[in-house]
Amino acid sequence: MIKAILVFNNHGKPRLSKFYQYFNEDMQQQIIKETFQLVSKRDDNVCNFLEGGSLIGGSDYKLIYRHYATLYFVFCVDSSESELGILDLIQVFVETLDKCFENVCELDLIFHADAVHHILSELVMGGMVLQTNMSDILARIEEQNKLQKQEAGISAAPARAVSAVKSMNLPQQIKDIKLPDLPQAIKDLKF
């Protein structure tokens, strides 16, 4: 069983947190913090396993992680999972993200946390590995996104328009409009 899946960046900022066992929000943050401290002080060329922290798990649990550029992907698992298997699973997860976002980077995870959750839910369900075949996963995600688009087709047209306008970042643009410096212009007016 997988107890938790955490993604955070090199500074410990959470980018995704999925707990398959209930912890309240404060505890979740503490766990993330502790895990970050454990993981971040390790070199890149040491092994990817370490004994679970004091907050999450205990002796039966292991932290298995991978470090990609600015992000750490950490899985907390018990002894029923194969260590190398989970490492492969992390790889599958990241590759799937890469396919879905086209050259995934941290920003994609920041702005599409919900999408990342949906992708993850095709890999792992309730702490158990659901699917490891990447093409199957991608097909499922594709179909669901299509469904979402269909729904959005008619009813969400206005919303889409709005979001399109919004992504133009109107407030910023309005701000950016350069008006002539009026007082100066007035001064410059010569009667």
Partner: protein, 1073 residues
């Protein structure tokens, strides 16, 4: 200004979506909390609107905030609203939020049952899929019971996607609702052969999780798994199956033989490292389980170890780690085959990776031998000096001690070395949390290895003197002072400079109270020894000097804030005062110590029955002398008498006591705790009786902390006015008689620690100690100078040992020069060395132990060490306990009634569901959520609601009680009682030399056991109450049931237990409408 206004309006015009929120948070790094608070306000407003897409937008934002650590459970109802939307987009958002913030104890979940059921039966497979994914994160017991059937239906859906998710979901259902396992199991088994590989994989996954905790119930599935293993190509599933076989083979060795061949085939054919590794792991498990069955299994073990060696040597750190991990599994059963790779493991100790070092440390435990122990420990100490991170250093410290002390120090040949190592550890790690462990080791070695006692005592004296007492924040290293003080006191006769040590003990140090108390006690012991010595030398001045030192040194302890220290100090102080008085010297000293010397305390001193036995035997004599004596310048024989009496307080040898000895003490038959130990004081007036009884109440409290402190406390408690202790003065004859009677009683009393019968062995130990001196060291001229330059004292022993072995190997004749010293011993060694030269086996040149560990351990009669009483310490809350169900037995009869009934009522349900769904979908949207909630609440009949709750609960409990649980418990009890029988017989056989002397147990023993007895009694009472409680509960249930019937009748005109849960669901439906 104007622009700002425009911007504000624009923002209000369009709701922020998730992207905006994230962008906003990133733009407001300085006042993030404030910004988020503002956003939450906005979200609250959005949630109040009627448009579902606005709401879902708000919920999506909340999900993000949840990840940032904000509690969003206040929006639970809105989340459910979004979940119930017809649009997939919203549903997805809703279920995601629910999976992040709901948990099995969320109360809101009872509102979701029908909605989830509707989603599960949706025609769109992704609706059901999303619902299953969400549900897997927050499913509760109620939901499991209510939805088990729906999920089971999905298991045979035509869509593989749903089958796969439903199969996995069933595991979560089993955990919360174990009754579902039996009916669902056949279907689950079916899914192992599903045409779709991912469904197969899911089923394997679920069964693996189930079988991990209760493997024996799944043995019958082995053939199917075997087939899967040989045909499947899905590595993930293969790994799971192979892991499952590892747990199955542990209980069914026959399976292992069949497995080895295909596994080895897999090992050679697969390219996936993960699969290879798991195969090796399982082969190891197989080999362990059939270690006796197969003739050539040692060859297979060798193969595995070889493979692991390749893994460990790999440059990939992960493989190295896993290789070491697997090695440790082999180590437990086949230590020999791992030992051949010692070099590799020792090399891993220097790895830069902490995880790998820790794994290697685990393996070290099995690597050590007499020969290399010193070398390994030296390396570990070196590591400790270099390592940063206190937890790793602590781990190292722990390992050093674990390695050395394993098997009663079976690999330690030189205990002087070991003590030196311990002292070094103490000085190295002042902040360690293993201080207590080191203290225990010091005590253990000092007590059990008599040959090094002298060394130990002097080492401890130095430690006491030099240990820098600093206020380490959370370290427990101070504890070693406790051990050190005790050792110097107890074995004072071995001390080189007892006077100096006495002074050290009397120097007040800022150590914890319980350690100071030991200081005081052992100062007295030392003092007794010193006085004895002085008397032997007829040195009156020395006695006086010692008295003075002690009396003055005690002064700071007398005013200690710690009550225990103060008390001990004052009793010691008055003991000394008495002694001096009887010697006729102490008069003027006494006066100027006036303030504490009020008469009350003096009078108490004679009433020492509460004191530990050893002291008690003598103190009356002391008083005798003190009171009768008006001696001035007492005659030497008189003084000698006092000195021996004083020493008599501490003469008897202490033996190590087995860890569980206290618990094994058997209950004397005639012990009655309700009986008065002493007659209660006549309750003349109410107040004094009250005082007395309150006193009485306190005593058990003190008695429970056991030992010395408790005893002394009681003596003082006797000082209370309401309790009148008579002072009886015995004549010498009477005292002698009493003492003899008591000694007799003690020898017959099984609960009393007897002095060791180890004279023989101790003699041998001394001899061997002598032989240590025989080892020729100085005379040898080595061709190659030793290259070791180190500052550690413990290294000296290593070098000595190395030299010694060189002597053995190089010139066996070295012993002859020393032959004169002890002919016998050298002969013995000569023989041995001859044997060594005969067989040049690696084991034979192990260094001979210099010291022998005393293995006598005190245990009460009728108890043996190997008693296993803590066997069943598994977590009682583990849901897997309830899942321990025999799945091969036919189950038609115990099909849970709810499920049966549900299948009957399915049709009716679906109709209701449809209606429910319609109403929900068409619900007029102008009604705001809080309003709806209010309406729901008001519509809900409170009595009905409670009925709902009761049904679910009582049914639950009922099922569990009726089901196998109770039955199995009884079985277990039977088994355990059967097991215990023969063991008891064996015990009786073992101890028939000591006749059971239960008759001679006297009141005092009762007193000391009062605490334990009381506890026992409490337990009994609790059990009794439990029984009552159960009955009561049953009654309650009964009444609840009947009341429930009532409701159901009233509501639906249907009656009967079978129908009940359906009605409950019906009720819930009504609520929703």
């Amino acid at each position: 200004m104007a622009l700002k206004m425009v911007k504000g309006n624009l923002e209000r015009m369009f709701d922020k979506n998730l992207t905006d929120l994230v962008r906003g948070i990133r733009n407001n790094k300085d006042n993030e909390a404030k910004y988020i608070a503002q956003c939450i306000e906005e979200i609250k407003q959005e949630l109040r609107q009627d448009n579902v897409s606005v709401k879902s937008n708000a919920v999506a934002k909340l999900t993000y905030l949840q990840m940032c650590g904000y509690d969003i459970s206040w929006a639970g109802f809105n989340i459910i609203e979004v979940m119930s939307s017809n649009r997939f987009t919203c549903k997805r958002i809703g279920y995601l939020a629910a999976s992040q913030c709901f948990h099995p104890d969320s109360e809101l979940l009872m509102l979701t049952t029908n909605m989830i059921r509707k989603d599960l039966s949706s025609t769109n497979q992704y609706d059901a899929g999303v619902a299953l994914s969400g549900l897997s994160c927050f499913i509760s017991t109620d939901l499991s019971r209510d939805l088990a059937n729906d999920i089971m239906t999905l298991m045979s859906s035509t869509k593989p996607y749903l089958r796969m998710k439903a199969v996995l979901m069933m595991y979560k259902v089993f955990l919360r609702y174990p009754e579902a396992l039996r009916p669902a199991f056949p279907k689950l088994k079916e899914k192992l052969e599903d045409p779709d590989p991912s469904v197969q994989s899911a089923a394997v996954n679920v069964i693996c999780e189930l079988a991990r905790k209760n493997p024996k119930n799944y043995l019958s599935l082995a053939p199917i798994f075997f087939k899967l293993m040989t045909t499947s190509t899905n590595n993930w599933m293969l790994i799971k199956i192979i892991k499952l076989f590892a747990s199955l083979t542990a209980i069914e060795p026959a399976l292992g033989k069949k497995l080895t061949h295909p596994l080895i085939e897999l090992i050679s054919s697969t390219s996936a490292m993960s699969l290879l590794y798991e195969c090796i792991n399982t082969v190891i498990a197989v080999l362990i389980s059939i270690s006796s069955g197969m003739p050539n299994h040692s060859a297979s073990i060798q193969l595995c170890v070889q493979k692991l060696r390749i893994l460990i040597e790999d440059s990939d750190q992960n493989l190295k780690y896993l290789g070491l991990l697997a090695m440790s599994k082999i180590l437990k059963t086949h230590p020999k085959s791992v030992q051949t790779h010692k070099d590799l493991i020792l090399a891993c100790l220097d790895d830069k990776d902490e995880s790998i070092r820790l794994r290697a440390l685990d393996l070290l435990y099995g690597m050590v031998s007499k020969k290399n122990l010193m070398e390994i420990v030296r390396r570990l100490l070196g590591h400790m000096e270099r390592a940063e991170g206190s937890s790793y250093r602590d781990e190292l410290l722990y390992k050093v001690i674990e390695i050395c002390s394993q098997g009663s120090y079976q690999y330690v040949t030189n205990f002087e070395w070991y003590l030196t190592v311990l002292v070094e550890l103490i000085l190295l790690e002042s902040g360690s949390r293993h201080g207590r462990l080191i203290a225990a080791q010091l005590l253990d070695v000092a007590i059990r290895v008599q040959a090094v006692r002298k060394f130990a005592v002097n080492e401890m004296a130095t430690l006491l003197e030099t240990y820098p007492v600093t206020a380490a924040p959370n370290g427990t290293m101070q504890e070693v002072l406790y051990a050190a003080a005790w050792i110097v006191g107890e074995f004072a006769s071995h001390l080189d400079g007892p006077e100096r040590t006495l002074a050290v003990l009397l120097q007040p140090k800022p150590v914890a109270g319980h350690i100071q108390a030991v200081y005081v006690q052992n100062a007295l012991k030392l003092f007794a020894h010193l006085v004895g010595e002085a008397v032997r030398q007829r040195d009156g001045a020395a006695i006086d000097r010692h008295c003075q030192t002690l009396a003055e040194g005690l002064r700071s302890y007398l005013s200690s804030a710690d009550i225990e220290v103060q008390e001990r100090a004052s009793s010691v102080y008055f003991l000394v005062a008495l002694l001096r008085e009887s010697l006729g010297v102490g008069t003027e000293q006494e006066q100027h110590l006036g303030p504490n010397a009020d008469g009350g305390l003096l009078e108490l001193t004679p009433d020492v029955p509460g004191e530990p036995e050893r002291e008690e035997t003598v103190v009356p004599d002391e008083t005798n002398i003190a009171t009768s004596g008006g001696y001035t310048g007492a005659a030497w024989d008189e003084i000698e008498q006092i000195a021996t009496d004083l020493q008599g307080l501490f003469v008897s040898e202490l033996n190590p006591v087995a860890p569980k000895a206290q618990r094994k003490v058997q209950l004397p038959e005639e012990l009655d705790l309700d009986e008065w130990i002493n007659q209660p004081p006549p309750s003349a007036d109410a107040s004094s009786a009250d005082g007395g009884s309150s006193d009485e109440d306190k005593f058990p409290l003190f008695l429970t902390d056991g030992g010395r402190g408790g005893g002394e406390r009681e003596t003082n408690g006797g000082g209370d006015e309401s309790r009148s202790y008579k002072r009886i003065e015995y004549t010498q004859d009477e005292l002698d008689k009493m003492r003899q009677a008591r000694l007799l009683e003690q020898t017959n009393n099984p609960n009393y620690l007897k002095s060791a019968k180890t004279k023989k062995s101790s003699g041998a130990e001394y001899q061997q100690h002598d032989s240590y001196d025989d080892i020729p060291i100085a005379e040898i001229a080595l061709e190659v100078p030793l290259q070791i330059h180190s500052t550690k004292r413990s290294d000296k022993y290593l070098m000595d040992a190395e030299r010694a072995t060189r002597v053995f190997v190089g010139k066996g004749g070295g012993r002859k020069e020393k032959g004169e010293k002890g002919g016998k011993k050298s002969k013995r060694r000569g023989k041995k060395s001859k044997r060594y030269s005969d067989e040049s086996d690696s084991e034979s040149d192990d260094p001979k132990p210099l010291h022998v560990v005393n293995t006598v351990i005190e245990l009460p009669e009728g108890a043996i060490l190997s008693d296993t009483e803590d066997k069943n310490n598994a977590d009682p809350n583990d849901p897997h306990r309830a899942l321990d169900i025999d799945l091969d037995a036919p189950f038609e009869d115990d099909y849970p009634p709810e499920m049966k009934r549900k299948t009957v009522n399915q049709h009716q349900h679906s109709v209701m569901l449809l209606r429910d769904g319609d109403t929900k979908a068409n619900r007029p949207t102008d009604e705001n959520p809080s309003g709806t909630e209010g309406k729901h609440r008001s519509r809900r009949d409170p009595t009905e609601r409670s009925a709902v709750k009761h049904t679910s609960k009582t049914n639950d409990r009922h099922e569990q009680v009726d089901g196998g649980v109770v039955h199995e418990k009884q079985k277990k009890k039977k088994k355990s009682s059967e097991k215990e029988r023969p063991e008891e017989d064996a015990m009786m056989l073992m101890i028939d030399e000591d006749p059971p002397a239960k008759g001679s147990v006297k009141v005092r023993t009762r007193k000391s056991e009062k605490g334990a007895e009381k506890r026992n009694k409490l337990v009994r009472e609790e059990e009794g109450e439990d029984g009552d409680g159960e009955e009561k509960e049953k009654k309650k249930k009964h009444s609840k049931k009947s009341s429930k019937h009532h409701h159901s009748k009233r509501e639906s005109k249907k009656s009967g237990y079978e129908e009940m849960p359906a009605l409950v669901v019906g009720g819930a439906n009504k609520e929703a409408i």
